[in-house]
Amino acid sequence: MGSVKIRVKDTNLYYGNHHALKNINMDIYDKSVTALIGPSGCGKSTFLRCLNRMNDLIPNVRIDGEIQIAGNDINKYDVILLRKKVGMVFQKPNPFPMSIYENIAYGPRIHGTKNRSKLDNIVEKSLREAALWDEVKDRLKSNAMGLSGGQQQRLCIARTIAVEPEILLMDEPTSALDPASTMKIEDLMENLKKQYTVIIVTHNMQQAGRISDYAAFFLNGEIIEYDKTEKIFYKPMDKRTEDYITGRFG
C-alpha cells in the first residue's frame, strides 16, 4: 500500500436541492489505479469532477467537506495550478480542432513554455508515453480530427501528460472506443501508474478488474464499499456490491 495522495473527508455535493454525493470519505493511494464503479447516475463522475474542481463550472453546485491533495486543501490551490496537477481525460475523445502537435503543445504553451525545441521534446515524450508516437510521428502537422477515435483518445492522454500532472482522472475513457483501442489504452494504464496516480470511472467490470489496484463501489451517491480490487471482486463485504459485480443489477 503506497502513501495517500488524495484524502477525501466528509464530502457532500448538492445540485440545487438534489443531494448527489453523500458523506464521501476516501483515501486514494499514490502511483496506483483506483477504479470508481457503479450504475449510471450513482455519482462517480460527479465525484471525479470534484477532484479537479470541474464542478465549479456548473451553477447551483454546492460542495462541503474537505478534499486534500498531498495534504493541501484543493480549495486553497489556485484552480489553474490544481488542474495542471490533476489532469483529466474525458469520456468522448475531445481533441482540439488543430494539428496533433498543437494539441500537445497547447498545455505547455499556456503554462509559459515558449521555446520551440523544448516544446518539440515535450510533444515527442508525451506522445511516446501515450503509445501514439510511432503512429503519428510523420504527420504531427496534420489535423487531430483526422485520427481514429482510439488515437484521438490517446492524443488526449498525451495532451494531459504534457503539462506534467501528478494525478490523472479518467472519466470512462474507453466507453466510446472499439475493443482493440480499448486494449491499447488499458495496456497504457499499466505504464501510467508507474508515474501517476490514476483514477478511472468505468462501467466495464472486466476493465475495472483487469487494470485497477483499488476499487470503490458507488450507489446513489454513497460509497458502499472501497477496498483492494481483488477483495471487491472476490470477497465483497456488502451484498449490494456482490449483486452489482455479478451483474444482478446495473
Binding site: 468522448k92 475531445n94 494539428s99
Partner: protein
C-alpha cells in the same frame, strides 16, 4: 392488402412533399438568376475601364464612378473596423461571461430589437447625433459610425450563436489543462467560431454596401473623392438611388448596379479567402 395501401399513400405524400420543396427552392434560384441577369444584361455593356476609373461628370450622367467606389470602400472598411471588435467583444461577453439575469435579458432584447429597426431611423439618429450634435458634418466618419450602430446587432447576434455552437467538450478540455477562461476563449473558442463570426461580418458588410437612406443622411452625396474621413462622399447605393430617382441616366444606373453586385461578391470572396488563410490553414 391493407399494408400495401398504407405504404403507397405515404409514398405519394413523400413524392408530393419532395416535389413542392424542389419547386420552391428552384423558384428562389430562378428569381436570383432573373434579377442578376437583368442587371448584368442592361448594365454590363456600359461598363468600361473608363467608367471604373473616371470621376462622374454632370451629376453622373457622364463619366464614371471612381470617386463613388472610393467612398464606398472607405465607408465599408471604416464601419467594419469599428463594428467588428465591438461586436465580437460584446458577443464574447454575452455568450461566455454574462450570467443569466434580468439585465442580460434586457441586453438581448435590446440587441434583437435594434436589429429590426428600419435603417432610415438609424439615418435620422446619425443625422442629429453625429452630423449635428458631435458636429462631424456630412462625412465618411458620420456615415461609418451610423452604419456601425446599424450592423452591430447583426454581428453580435451571429457571433454569439457561433460562439455558443463551439462544443462544450473543447472548453472542458482546455480548462481541465489549467487554461484560464480568457486563454480558452482566445485560443480555442474564437478560432473555432471564426467561420460563424465571419458570416456575421459579411452580412454586416452586405448591409453597409446596400444601404442608401442612412448614408444619404450622414455621409451626404458629394461626388468628389473624399480626401479624409472627415469629408463627405457618395456610396454606390446612394449614387444608384440618385441616378434612378432623378432620372439622370438609366444606362449608368444599371452599370452602377453591376459594380455594386461585383463589389459585394469581391468583398465576400476575399474576406472568406483571407480568414481561411489566417485561421483555418494554420490549424491543419
Amino acid at each position: 392488402m391493407n399494408d400495401i395501401k398504407i405504404i403507397t399513400s405515404s409514398r405519394i405524400k413523400e413524392r408530393v412533399a419532395f416535389f413542392l420543396l424542389w419547386i420552391f427552392s428552384i423558384f428562389t434560384a430562378i428569381i436570383l438568376v432573373l434579377i442578376v441577369s437583368d442587371i448584368i444584361i442592361k448594365g454590363a455593356p456600359h461598363i468600361s475601364l473608363d467608367f471604373l476609373l473616371e470621376e462622374p461628370r454632370k451629376m453622373g450622367k457622364e463619366g464614371g464612378v471612381f470617386s463613388v467606389i472610393v467612398s464606398t470602400i472607405y465607408i465599408v472598411v471604416l464601419s467594419i473596423i469599428f463594428a467588428a471588435p465591438i461586436g465580437v467583444a460584446a458577443s464574447v461577453y454575452l455568450a461566455e461571461y454574462a450570467k443569466e439575469s434580468t439585465m442580460l435579458n434586457i441586453i438581448r432584447f435590446g440587441t434583437e430589437a435594434l436589429a429590426g429597426i428600419p435603417s432610415i431611423i438609424y439615418g435620422l439618429f446619425g443625422y442629429s447625433f453625429f452630423v449635428f450634435f458631435l458636429d462631424l458634418k456630412y462625412s465618411i466618419l458620420s456615415g461609418a459610425l451610423t452604419l456601425t450602430l446599424m450592423i452591430l446587432p447583426t454581428i453580435i447576434k451571429t457571433s454569439e450563436e457561433a460562439i455558443k455552437a463551439v462544443p462544450k467538450s473543447y472548453r472542458e478540455g482546455s480548462l481541465a489543462l489549467g487554461a484560464t477562461k480568457l486563454q480558452t476563449i482566445r485560443k480555442i473558442i474564437i478560432p473555432d467560431a471564426i467561420p460563424g463570426i465571419l458570416t456575421g461580418l459579411i452580412l454586416g458588410i452586405g448591409r453597409v454596401v446596400g444601404e442608401s437612406a442612412a448614408v444619404l443622411y450622414t455621409a451626404g452625396s458629394s461626388l468628389g473623392i473624399p480626401d479624409s474621413i472627415f469629408r463627405p462622399g457618395r456610396t454606390l447605393s446612394v449614387h444608384l438611388y440618385t441616378l434612378a430617382s432623378e432620372g439622370i441616366s438609366i444606362e449608368n444606373t444599371y452599370a452602377t448596379a453591376v459594380i455594386l453586385i461585383a463589389l459585394v461578391f469581391i468583398i465576400n470572396f476575399s474576406a472568406n479567402t483571407l480568414i481561411n488563410r489566417i485561421f483555418i490553414a494554420r490549424r491543419r
